[in-house]
Amino acid sequence: MNVGSAVMRRARLGLSAIMVLAGLCVALAGCEKKAERAAGAGKEAVIGFTASQTGKLNVESARQINGLNLWIEQVNAAGGVQLADGSRVRFAAKYYDDESNKERVQALYTKLVTEDQAAFLISPYSSGLTDAAAMIAEQYGKIIITAGAASDSTHGKGYGSVYQIYTPASRYLTGAFDLLARLDPKARTAALVCEKDKFAAEVCAAAEKYAKNTGLKIAFNEGYDSGAADFAPFINKIPPGVAAVMGGGHFADGATFAKQLFEKRVAAKFISLLVAPPEPKFAELGDAARGVVGPSQWEPLAKYSADLARAAGIEWFGPSVAEFAAAYRTKFAEEPSYHAAGGYAAGLALQQAIAAAGSLDSSKVKVALDALNVMTFFGRLHFATGAAEHGLQTGHEMVYIQWQTDGQGQLAKQVVWPEEVKSAPAMSLAR
């Protein structure tokens, strides 16, 4: 045997030993991962969404994201959600700024699904942006919970994985007409001035139809472009003597409209605007906010409870109204608005469905969402399952708030409608 072949043999032996050792390491690591998976340690599901951190929707969107983040924090602190195999899943938020821009939403939701591997999606704020996000979710077969979107029409497109938390737009202003009839039985005319966007247009179309059915004449009905700042041309066109002015769209335009209605000393005895009044920031308008009514998806004064759920024969799930409100106040040092509550409720619905499905598999979670019928601090949650309106919210109901003067002369929000949940009687405007 020559020296060269001995060296070669030793080298081959050394190489073989290294390869065996490497193979063992890989196998051991694999076993460890299997064991980890079996025990559920470190399992994490990404919740993807976009936030309007900038742009005209940032007030409402910021609250929605606050609520959603609070849910993620609380569910993770409680150990996550237990699956059927005994493992537990925790949640991680992945989000981008959509700049309140529909064009950015589609690209960002595609990125969330394809690059960030989001297991579930939550919608952006607003019906317009949500419509864009829903299309992407449906394309990739991802479940999307629409937290801040009330449009009915999104659910008439045959989507199977889009689930709505809010009371739909078609039922948004109907209670305001009922309240007006109670407050002023002699009211005969109203004016509708709504933003020309998907959500507000649907609300106002339904409101006009409802008003006619109740015998109220819509004396003026004209829409304004999104981003409008000058409402004087509309206000000047409102016929004198109308009993009510209703409309608006979102926070920025709604707050401006309320301010200019006050500055122009519009004499209507009843003003009800969409979205803006329930936000605590609306009180910054001062006297212009006083007396304004707004439909709200939820209020801290809401009376949803386990007892109410029992009486309705459905399951109660999640924190109480007081627990949610207290946790929100502690974390964000402000009153929770319905946008914040909606964000939290979206997470809650997903949590309950994952727990019921015992799996992160989209098809199993969809079955659980279709069957969901629970009462939460946000109210009842139940989705339509028919093909024509799949995912439309059918369980939840609106409340109506009004900014009134409290005992200390400060502006305070009161629930004034429906009658059975009101915290104070409604008042007529005196301007």
Binding site: Q53, G55, S100, K196, E222, Y224, A229, N236
Partner: protein
Amino acid sequence: MLRQCAASLLDGLLLGCVYGAAAMGLNLIWGVMKVINLSHGALMTAGMFVVYGLFAAAGLNPYLALPVAALAGWLLGLAIYWVAVHRVIDAPELASLLATFAVNMILVGLGTWLLTGTPRNIDCDLGAWRLGPLVIQGNRLAAAGAAVVLAGALFLFLRRTTLGKAIRATADNRGAAELMGIATSRTLALSFGLGAMLACTAGALIATIFPFTIASGAAYEPKSFVICVLGGLGNPLGALAAGLLLGAAEGLAPVFLPVGWTPALEFGLFVLVLVVRPTGLFGKSGT
């Protein structure tokens, strides 16, 4: 109907004064140096954010902050002139058009990055007064008053001061002005600064009436172009008169038409004037 017409006309005229002041800036720059300033809208936005910044950060009354907005506009105008316009002042008009368009894109891009697209509002309510069936809003009245004062000051400056006369001489014939010893480059820079100052101040006045975003200037810029054409290009006082005319039309149109049709009416008027009287309603024919 009469009440509605009167209320709408009043709103339109008050707003028209502010539109007129903004358009005077655009018109002055065109009249003196034949530059179509496409950064006009961005300059208006700058004025909005100057008064908003001082109001939000230091609690300064927005009307007291107007001189600061004017100064900021003048300095910004000087900077734009020396950096982007001066080098192309003798080039074909497309060059200066593209240069100011580039400045506009830079200003809006930087503004969006730094200030975001979030709506802002200056909460300074001057109240309202009832005058029979009309309601006069304090903020609109104050803004209109300030715009008229600004226009008057510009008129006096152009007519009564040496610098103003130098600007007019440069506008009439730059070569002859240079032969008379006028430093035309500095005069052109001063004129651009004045035009920018008017745009900035008008933007600041608009911010006292309406909420705004970083993109708001772009919505007011086309109105300035319409006003310049109506009033006659190169005629600053014609711009103020045309501003009132446009304001009145903008106020009265919604009485008879849906509000959303107003821009179509404005631009219809724009095209009509260009076809029938290209020198504008208040411009000298043949110029």
